[in-house]
Symmetry: C2
Subunit: 238 residues, 2 copies
Amino acid sequence: MTVTREDGADNSISWQSIRDEMMARIRAQLYAPGELIPNEVDLAAEFGCARATVNRALRDLATSGFLDRRRKAGTRVREAPRRKATLTIPLTHVEVEASGARYAYRLLERKIEAPPPLVREKLRLSGRERLLHVSSLHLADDVPHMFENRWIVLDTVPEIEDVDLSKTSPNVWLVRQAPYTHGTMEFLAEAAGAAAKHLVCAPDDPVLTMLRVTWLDAQPITYARQSFSPSHRMRLEL
Amino acid sequence: MTVTREDGADNSISWQSIRDEMMARIRAQLYAPGELIPNEVDLAAEFGCARATVNRALRDLATSGFLDRRRKAGTRVREAPRRKATLTIPLTHVEVEASGARYAYRLLERKIEAPPPLVREKLRLSGRERLLHVSSLHLADDVPHMFENRWIVLDTVPEIEDVDLSKTSPNVWLVRQAPYTHGTMEFLAEAAGAAAKHLVCAPDDPVLTMLRVTWLDAQPITYARQSFSPSHRMRLEL
DNA sequence: GAGTGGTCTAGACCACTTG
DNA sequence: AAGTGGTCTAGACCACTCT
C-alpha cells in the first residue's frame, strides 16, 4: 500500500533513491570493503519501505559489481568492485552515419568453399562443411573505414546463400535474420598486411582488428575478421 | 498468493521461464521484428501468473536489447537487436594470474609534474594542476605483458601522493580507494614506439593500446595509457 | 482521455548456505 | 536448524505518451 500523507502527497520511496543512498555509503566507506551490510528487512525498516524495494536496489548494485550477495551469508561490499565496460556492438552503417559521414558498402568477393584451418578451428568444424566466404569494404565519405573477411556456415543459415550480398551486407542480414545466442569477440593490433590495399595504407601500418565468432546454441554461425583503417579507435563507456 | 495444486506441488511460474519463452518466440519470428507484442495484463493471463512476473521478464529482455518498451505505446520487438559486449575490466594482476602465470610489477618512474597538452585536454585541466605521473611495467612469468603510463590528478585524490607505489600499483590503489563514477575507454592499434624497449619488441611492432579516463562526478581522476605486448588479445563475451 | 508500462506494498513461500 | 536473499502474488497508484 502506498503510504499517503494527510495532505495527499505520495510518500513512497523509489528503489533508485535507495540505490543512490547505498552507493553513497559505499563510496564514503560508511560500509567498508569486505564488510557485511544490514540485511534487507532491517534496511526496509530504516528506509520505511517494503523489503522488495530494498531488494531491487541491492540487486541492481550487485549486478553493477559493487556488492556480493549470497543467501544466508548476507550482502558484502566488494573489495575490488567488478567494473564493466559495455560496448554496444554497432552496425557499421549506423556507426558511420552517426559520425556524420556518408556510408557506402562494397562487396569484394563472394564464394562458397571449405573452411581453411584457422576458421575450422574457431568454428569447431570438421572441414567438409560448405561455407560462404565473403569479403567486403565499408566506407565513410568514400574513404575506406573497415575491411571485413567473413565465413558463414551454410548448414546453420542456408537462407543466406540466396541473398544478394552486393546490396545487403552479411552482417545486416545476419543481425535481422539469424540472431546468435552467444559468441566471443577479440581485439588485437596487427600489421595491415593483405588488408592494406583495401584500406589504402602501408602493409606494415598497425591496424585494429576485431575477431568475432557467433553461435546459435551449439551451431556455429559465422567467423568475422574486421580490420579498421589505421586511425580508427574503438570507444567504450564505463 | 502461490498457486498450489491439490497434490501440494508448487505451480508458480518463474520470470526466467517467461523470458525464455518470449525469447524463443522472438527468435522464431512468432512476434515479428517491429511488431507490438501483447501487453503485460494479457501475457499474465496467458501464462497464468501475476503481471509483475511478466514485467520482470520483459524488462530483462528490454535491457538485453531485444525489446523496446514505452508506456502507452506498448512493447515492440526491436528491428535490429541492440547487442552488447561486456568487458569485465580486469585488474592486471588478476588477469595474469588467471592465465596461470606469475605476476610481477615494476615501478619505472614516479614524479609530480604539470600535465602535457594531451593529458590536459583529456582530463579538461587548465594546466596548472599537480599531477602524479607514473610509468610501470607489468610482467607475466617475467615476460613483459603491459606497459602503463598514467597521470593522476592530485587535487582529486591527494592521498595517493603518500602511497608507496613500488609495492602497490596505482590501479590497484585507485580501484580500492577511489572508485570512479564514470569514464571512457578507447582501443587503438599503434606502433610500439617508446614502449618497445619495455615490451621487448621492435619500435614499429603493432601493439594494442588502451586509453582510459575516469571521473569522480565532475572531477577528473586519472588518464592511463596501457600498451600490451604484441601478441596480446583483448577478449570479450557476447 | 485513456492505455500501457513502471513501481510500490504487504505478505508468503522457497532456495541456498552457513554454522 | 536457522538466517538471508530470491521470487511470486494481488492489488494499487502513478507517469508517460499516444490519439
